[in-house]
């Protein structure tokens, strides 16, 4: 019963958030200068051509009406048509989604696979050179900007060693899909992995001082079990928050990584929409990203509960 009420409240909250975000982005795009027709026609536009195009794009209709039409479409799952591509926004998002999704999943997997053992190793050997090395590496990973790492990776693995293709996306008739994924995944997972190592190590060290760990040890549990079953599980809670935030950002597409590795993902699509004042496309992108972030936050909340029964969903 409690659970159902909670879910309902949460769902309403999510819808309101997405609507608010979409309204704000709509208003912003109207307030900033620049006209889609002008951008499409560039410096050679005749005034008649501009007027005709504005009419064709529906830019001559009042603002409120445009928003209302868009909103009604949204309720039917119709995000309208892109001004520049003249295709349904849903279709455009759908095309770009696999690139972004695969990349995000690969980056999160890689980050977790590296961060969990590294953080445990560092925590268990706190204060030793091993710990110092891992902490140093994670600080470096946090400090180095991913676009720079991306370029370095391309120079090293594509130009010098010739192991991997310098970006791009799977081409018809050529290209091992895995090869194209490796470098952007590494570049994208670096800041997340580094952040996780640093955070996990810290929270394991905190948890390990707690009473229940002392109890576990006093019971005679083997040290490995103490770390894996008790310490890590509790230390994962703050890490989940960080992971959730990063995942939301990853699903929005990483503009810089997509740009450097020439990947046709969501980030570049949204950037294109901004530059071209393609408001239906941008609105669609924003709604999609907002929904993804809200959903991830919700899932994160649920996972908190399963990690730590004291954080019950009914408590909110």
């Amino acid at each position: 019963m409690h659970m159902r009420a909670y879910l309902l409240r949460k769902a309403v909250g999510m819808v309101v958030t997405v609507l608010l975000v979409s309204t704000i982005s709509f208003v912003f795009l109207q307030v900033i200068p620049g006209d889609p027709a002008q951008v499409i026609l560039g410096t050679e536009a005749s005034p008649e051509a501009l007027q005709d195009l504005r009419r064709q794009l529906g830019l001559d209709r009042p603002l409120g009406l445009r928003y209302w039409t868009w909103l009604r479409g949204l309720l039917r799952g119709d995000l309208g048509e892109s001004l520049r591509y003249q295709r349904p926004v849903v279709e455009l998002l759908w095309e770009r989604l696999p690139v972004t999704l695969v990349l995000a999943a690969a980056a999160v997997t890689l980050a977790l696979t590296v961060a969990l053992p590294m953080a445990l190793l560092a925590a268990r050997h706190a204060g030793t050179p091993v710990d110092l090395l891992i902490v140093l590496a994670s600080q470096l990973g946090l400090a180095l900007p991913p676009f720079w790492i991306g370029l370095l990776l391309i120079i090293l693995f594509s130009l010098q060693l010739r192991w991997l293709p310098p970006g791009g996306y799977v081409l018809p008739g050529g290209g091992n899909p895995l090869g194209y994924l490796v470098l952007p995944t590494v570049a994208l997972s670096l800041p997340l992995g580094a952040h996780l190592i640093w955070l996990l190590r810290q929270s394991i060290l905190e948890v390990i001082e707690r009473d229940f760990i002392r109890t576990a040890r006093a019971k005679g549990l083997p040290e490995n079990l103490v770390y894996y079953r008790h310490a890590l599980r509790n230390a994962l809670i703050p890490a989940m928050t960080v992971l959730g935030i990063h995942m939301g950002a990853l699903l929005g597409g990483s503009i810089i990584i997509e740009q450097i590795f020439s990947l046709p993902g969501l980030g570049r699509l949204v950037l294109f929409a901004v530059y071209n004042r393609d408001w239906p496309l941008l609105q669609g992108g924003v709604v999609f990203i907002a929904t993804a972030v809200v959903l991830i936050n919700f899932v994160t909340d649920l996972i908190y509960g399963s990690l730590d029964p004291r954080i019950s969903v009914t408590d909110t």
């Binding site: 620049g34 560039g42 791009g168 050529g174």
Partner: protein
């Protein structure tokens, strides 16, 4: 164990195959900085689109790399002595991609589509001079013009005058059907676009390639790595700073040519203190254009003196009018009442790096004569709105792409032109530019356009900085690449020796 080895060998072989070792002969991969914005030549102004689409569609008339007009779909043409009637005879046996013969009515229909307001052809104005189109037989198209228009023939060679057959109209944006050397095989937006050889192309033996892949690589530094690793055969645009490095690589080569275009510092002639000609002249004298060509463009360009690139046959060399002379600039400023200097805001269009850097160097040079410059970087959509359409600015850096005829290039300075964003007002200029647009005699036209360029320079309407060079990088085994005075990547005669 044996099984494992077999599996490993097979997967390795598959991976090698997939990684492109066995790509078909005659497949050329071209790296381009931007994607097409659709494939309908009548509904775009995007250079990236015309670069690609010229391989799918044809024009009645074509332009050679050195700027001559030669037959395209038309085998020949005749112009009546009063300059009002253009009669084109189509080549025999031109096939549309669907397999049927192209007919005169298709050509007429394509121009009717250009002129139809619902098409929203951005440059329809260039063709409004057409009064009527007649097709007395299947291979003859006659254009009757409302008035003498010497630019008409060259306007037919522009990418946006491509002949789009009626069967393409319904889905021209995604499924182009033309008569060109290639057909569209695949397009994944922002990633790649594939063209395949059209076997029935009307020029026997062409195209030479089986397949062309355009790959979108937005980051110049990554483009260079793609070229150096052989992931692309051609990089359609080299950043000036990369030209020397590509030339130094023995496996690569560079094809380069002066571009039909100019970079300038636009001045708002209606806004004080720039409404004073002496101030504009002082700014011209205070800018060392050579330093901009070398400092921003690594020497990949040529200094100019007016609104015309040196590749144009109408170019007049006016570079001597404003030599770099800061002392004279200061004197002129003092004469105009600005002994104490003045303030100037230059609006720079983002994300066009080179225009931004042009502005940065200009700012430093102007400081030396007492002009305090405020640089304002403005995102392109905003820049267009404020500077170009709103004319709400003092000075701005920008470029203009040249045309084949000087009239569409220079008529923007007519007082009543909507494109006159520099607010130049000169009745004498207005009259002369109108005369140039209707004069058929070539010598007379040369004289007129020379005088127009002189007027712009004398009045220091803008600071005409330079005409850039275009450099294309490619593998040494690619041949037949040519650079045209209009922005197209014509791949008909390009080939790749294996």
């Amino acid at each position: 164990m044996g099984r494992l080895v077999r599996v490993l060998i097979v997967s390795l072989a598959v991976a090698l195959l997939l990684s492109g070792v066995g790509w078909g002969k005659g497949r050329l991969v071209v790296g381009v900085p931007a994607d097409v914005d659709g494939l309908d030549p009548h509904r775009t102004v995007a250079a990236a689109t015309f670069q690609v689409v010229c391989n799918i569609y044809d024009t009645l008339v074509e332009v050679t790399p050195d700027g001559r007009l030669v037959p395209g779909l038309a085998a020949s043409w005749e112009i009546s002595s009063d300059g009002l009637q253009y009669t084109f005879t189509l080549r025999p046996g031109i096939k549309v991609h669907t397999g049927r013969d192209l007919q005169a009515a298709d050509v007429a229909g394509s121009f009717q589509r250009i002129l139809n307001p619902d098409t929203n052809h951005p440059r329809a104005a260039d063709y409004r001079v057409i009064d009527s189109i007649a097709t007395p037989d299947v291979e003859t198209v006659i254009f009757h013009l409302k008035e003498k228009t010497p630019a008409f023939l060259s306007n037919l060679a522009m990418g946006w005058a491509a002949v789009v057959p009626p069967e393409a109209v319904a889905q021209a944006k995604f499924r182009p059907i033309g008569t060109g050397p290639f057909t569209l095989a695949d397009w994944v937006p922002d990633s790649h676009l594939v063209l395949r050889r059209f076997p029935d192309y009307f020029r026997p033996g062409e195209p030479l390639l089986d397949e062309v892949v355009f790959r979108v690589i937005p980051e110049p530094a990554v483009g260079i790595i793609n070229l150096k690793t052989g992931a692309v055969d051609v990089l359609s645009w080299l950043a000036p700073q990369d030209v020397a490095g590509v030339k130094a690589d023995p496996r690569l080569k560079v094809v380069e040519s002066p571009m039909n275009g100019i970079y300038l510092l636009a001045l708002n002639n209606a806004r004080p203190p720039l409404d004073d000609r002496r101030v504009r002249q002082a700014i011209n004298l205070a800018i060392d254009k050579g330093a901009i060509v070398d400092g921003v463009h690594w020497g990949q360009g040529q200094v100019i003196g007016s609104h015309m690139p040196p590749v144009s046959p109408f170019y007049a060399d006016l570079t001597a009018m404003y030599p770099y002379d800061p002392d004279k600039a200061r004197r002129l400023l003092a004469e105009a009442g600005y002994e104490q200097g003045l303030e100037l805001t230059i609006t720079l269009p983002q994300p066009y790096d080179f225009h931004i850097r042009n502005g940065e160097i200009i700012a430093q040079q102007l400081e030396r004569v007492g002009i305090r410059v405020r640089l304002e970087v403005m995102e392109w959509g905003n820049w267009l709105d404020r500077v170009y359409f709103g004319r709400d600015y003092q000075a701005a850096t920008i470029g203009h792409t040249g045309r084949l005829d000087p009239d569409p290039f220079l008529n923007r300075y007519a007082s009543d032109s909507r494109e006159n964003y520099m607010n130049y007002q000169n009745p004498e200029y207005d009259e002369l530019v109108k005369l140039g647009a209707s004069t058929l005699d070539m010598d007379e036209r040369l004289r007129i356009y020379r005088r127009l360029q002189e007027m712009l320079a004398e009045d220091a309407v803008a600071v005409y900085l330079m005409s850039p060079h275009l450099a294309v990088g490619m593998q040494a085994n690619v041949s037949g690449w040519q650079i045209y005075p209009i922005d197209i990547l014509n791949l008909r005669r390009v080939c790749k020796e294996e």
